[in-house]
Subunit: 316 residues, 2 copies
């Protein structure tokens, strides 16, 4: 018998806290969706039971025309209760805009890789870290909190692998400068389970007690395996996107963020509570598909849900 | 900090033995591919370095017209070395055909769920188990071996969940009747990591020392997470299909078997040797796509490989 270990026990937490990022990461690369479509999507997402929604991004409308209506979206949030809404900001000016619009829980992205940081934000990693303190002060002053999302935490599309120490240094500096929470982003969907666990271990060793989430893309089919590894390693805060929205629309069929419904499906089926109703997520995916006008990549959504049988001959 | 366990260590084996099933499970539901196309696919698959290929199925040409040329495919195998070729059979008659065609390593499917067994093979689970002895004798008589693949090991499209004891009973009976190896099939792509581990644990407890593999479909996006869980639980024999071929072609975009290239990608990146060259699998996927004439579902293949950068703005 070639089996190497039969003493394994799959230990999962009692619950996982999903953050729905379809309205931000999902929509940012799409053709702009009219406000009415976004509000239909938002209503459907709130109805899923998800407790955290990253609802938009306060960034330059030139850079991200799809989210140019961030203020208008923010103005609609008062009608919903039981959900913690947050927004991504690109700099202190965006943070001020968010706070003025009534959103005090902020995410701010720092690219661990310099080339990605320059291409994406027009500054080095070090310069990006330098803005954490001011943004944190704005969030805190408004009664909110700041999470720093470390982009290209594992790999950069230009520089290749990001050195583990480099990513860890960014997380340490962010916490020192006032970040309340951290999130590690697999921006281009290239990391894999062992590297996920190794980086998580090191970040936690350096910043014990700081809430730590993960943000995976399913670009290479490994997103849910990475999620499983991260959860086993103790992470309970995961980003996911309804329908797997978030792929580059210029690459047809490319997957985006890990799909909320796929994550919820296997977690709930494995006894991990998410507070999210799977059928409601599938309904939200239909609303989202209408809003963006293209097929969503989620396999579970396309399969018609968890129970849809296969009709054809299928011996194994 | 809501993390529940920071002592986790992701333990993976030094190597995993992938069985390529694209030519059998992948092609069986497609429009028949001409022999020349299959041989091009076979040549490309052999070039990947994979050590086991399930190359066809000896079943009724009426039930599976796509594999009606099993004898012709088998006649071509002598030109390849270093690969263990096997074939799936539906009954003793098919086993005799396979052996006569020169393939002595056989897979035989038994559905653990009666409804699937009746719909798929026209007989009950018990009747299907009753044929194991004769098929094993045919394989052994030809110097080969018999693996019993338990279909609907976790769920049936008609009966819903398959009771764990029922699947375990089938594995026990198969081994008693002469099966040399076992494989658990998630036929409709519905199982999830915790149920994977629980069933594997029980099957191994009942049949210690019997080689045990897994056969996952990625229909609901959980295939690679299930593979990770199975590997952590000690399994080193996994079925996968080039390009993720194996979805029902009548459901456009539906995923099939877990994609060989996605499995190889994360395993090798996590330090687990597969003996398989990723670029060669991607080349084989292109050959396969040409042969079947439709887009393959594999995300990694569609993303253009492991290193393809994202061109557009992508902050996190």
């Amino acid at each position: 018998m070639s089996d190497f270990d039969s003493d394994f026990d799959l230990v999962l937490p009692p619950s996982v806290d999903v953050r729905e990022v379809g309205m931000r990461d999902g929509l940012q690369l799409e053709a702009p969706v009219p406000l009415a479509g976004k509000l239909a999507m938002l209503e459907a997402l709130v109805a899923t039971g998800v407790r955290r929604i990253e609802v938009t991004s306060f960034v330059s409308p030139k850079a991200v025309p799809a989210l140019a209506d961030a203020d208008q979206v923010a103005a609609e949030l008062g009608q919903f209760s039981g959900v913690r809404f947050s927004a991504l900001v690109a700099n202190a000016r965006g943070a001020q805009r968010a706070v003025d619009a009534g959103i005090a829980d902020l995410e701010y992205v720092v690219s661990a890789a310099d080339s990605h940081s320059r291409a994406n934000a027009g500054r080095t990693t070090s310069e990006a870290v330098g803005a954490v303190g001011e943004i944190a002060a704005l969030a805190h002053g408004a009664g909110g909190s700041l999470e720093v999302i470390v982009a290209t935490a594992w790999d950069c599309p230009f520089d290749g692998r990001t050195a583990l120490d480099r990513t860890v240094d960014v997380t340490r500096a962010a916490v020192t400068a006032g970040a309340d929470a951290l999130c590690l982003g697999d921006t281009i969907g290239t990391t894999t389970p062992l590297r996920v666990v190794r980086l998580l271990d090191e970040v936690r060793r350096v910043s014990p007690g700081v809430p730590l989430g993960v943000h995976f893309h399913d670009t290479r089919g490994t997103g849910q395996a990475n999620a499983l590894a991260a959860i086993q390693a103790g992470v309970t805060q995961l980003d996911a996107s309804v329908g797997g929205l978030g792929g580059c629309p210029f690459a047809p069929g490319a997957s985006g963020n890990i799909a909320t419904e796929e994550l919820v499906y296997w977690l709930e089926d494995s006894g991990v509570a998410t507070g999210i109703d799977l059928d409601a997520v599938l309904a939200a995916a239909r609303v989202t598909e209408d809003a963006v006008g293209r097929e969503l990549p989620s396999s579970l959504y396309r399969a018609g849900g968890k129970n849809a049988p296969r009709g054809a001959f299928q011996p194994a």
